[in-house]
């Protein structure tokens, strides 16, 4: 297998994830934010974000995902949405809905919000609030009929794990009742806070097997009504996921302090140096930042991956996962059955004794 030119970057990512703040009223057990969160004082200014959105659109980015933490914690959120739209980007917001009144939503839609994503922690209030570490479930439920009155695409995200997977059918039924345009059923991915709580959240093999036909049946039943997308738990697979569509290929994440990351959890890999949008423009970062170059292409890959045709589909799997499970960021993603560490997952998949939850700070 010949090595392709490994340093050539695609001309632009397709989407920009803007982590506007790490402040959040929720404390979910599986939050994807890093354990070391950025403080409010270090957050980018409105002007910084406006410049970033313009640079993103100029280089060819199409989608802007405003997330956090909780984007509503930013008082300048309407200005940021407007700045995204004025730059020419499609604006999506991922929110807990906590603090979103009808008036505030009307303002956000007015300035250009196009898609809103709301996640549910469970179908039962006590359990949902336990997982979120706060009383958010009733607020979310009450928000949905309000949302439906606005010209806005609406996605519900059901986050599933050991504690709720047995009630998936009822969970989907709740989502159907709320009638979103899109429904995502996403297994917890074990990064950030979720990794700390892995032994509590990891479903059993039986749970996963039972859930698969339920998801397929829902897809069939909802066809033409609700678009359903499901994220399979990769610990149970034989081949790795194409994590973020391949390192430095499709997406760029800007954290609250302006650091540009190739994915949500890239900061776990100790050797990576991130460049900041306060010092560099986005096009330079995309093309030249060492963190984006580090796993681009296939020069870093093991001989096993280099010889494998699947590298064109999964791009070598997830670098963060490889590092977290083996200590080596260049290792084959242990999810892959060709990995010498694949046996690790067999142990991790076994149901662990109940441990105490650790809520996100």
């Amino acid at each position: 297998m010949t090595q392709t030119n490994t340093t050539l970057a695609p001309s632009s990512p397709l989407s920009l994830i803007a982590e506007l703040t790490h402040r959040c009223p929720l404390h979910c057990l599986y939050c994807s934010n890093p354990i070391e969160m950025q403080k409010a004082e270090s957050e980018l200014s409105t002007e910084d974000w406006r410049r970033v959105f313009q640079q993103a659109a100029q280089m060819g980015v199409l989608h802007l995902h405003l997330t956090g933490g909780e984007p509503l914690a930013r008082r300048d959120l309407p200005e940021l949405i407007r700045a995204g739209r004025e730059a020419g980007l499609y604006v999506n917001m991922i929110t807990s809905g906590v603090g979103l009144t009808e008036d505030r939503l009307a303002m956000l839609v007015e300035v250009g919000l196009e898609h809103l994503q709301l996640s549910f922690q469970d179908l039962d209030e006590v359990s949902a609030n336990h997982i979120a570490g706060t009383r958010a479930h009733a607020i979310k439920l009450a928000l949905v009929p309000v949302l439906k009155r606005f010209p806005l695409a609406f996605t519900i995200n059901l986050v599933v794990h050991r504690m709720n997977l047995d009630r998936l059918e009822e969970f989907i039924a709740l989502a159907e009742l709320l009638n979103p345009d899109r429904l995502e059923i996403a297994h917890v991915q074990y990064y950030g806070w979720a990794l700390k709580n892995r032994s509590l959240l990891m479903p059993t093999e039986e749970q996963v097997q039972r859930s698969l036909p339920i998801v397929e049946a829902a897809k069939e039943r909802l066809k033409g009504k609700i678009h359903l997308e499901a994220v399979f738990p990769d610990y149970f697979g034989s081949f790795p996921k194409a994590c973020v569509g391949g390192w430095g290929r499709q997406m760029m994440l800007i954290d609250p302090a302006g650091q540009a990351l190739p994915c949500h959890s890239a900061a776990v890999i100790p050797e990576l140096q991130f460049d900041n949008v306060r010092e560099h423009d986005l096009a330079w970062i995309w093309q030249s930042s060492s963190a984006f170059q580090r796993f681009r292409g296939d020069a870093w890959m093991s001989d096993t991956c280099l010889a494998c045709p699947r590298k064109e589909r999964d791009f070598g799997g997830c670098r963060c996962q490889a590092f977290m499970l083996t200590g080596d960021p260049d290792a084959i993603d242990p999810v892959c059955s060709y990995s010498p560490h694949h046996g690790l997952l067999k142990n991790l998949r076994v149901s662990q004794p109940e441990t105490l939850p650790i809520w996100r700070g």
Partner: protein, 86 residues
Amino acid sequence: MDLNSTPRLAPGCRLHPTENVLLIPEGTLNLTGPTREILTRLDGSKNVTEVVTELLQEYAGADVIKVQGDVLSVLNRLAQRGIVRA
């Protein structure tokens, strides 16, 4: 979806102003053939027959039945994905 339906793009779906793509939640659709020409005409007031009439003015000599069939097939496909609503 039939000739009397009045389709429109679903909320959160819009044509990119310059690129030949449709922006949708969490993605983009590359537009092929006359799809963009069809979608630009969906204003929530024209029905499918009226859209076809407009397209026939653009493409003189095209077969009415074939254009009707093509337009309905594009719209039905997009309706299945929730991108177009009648």
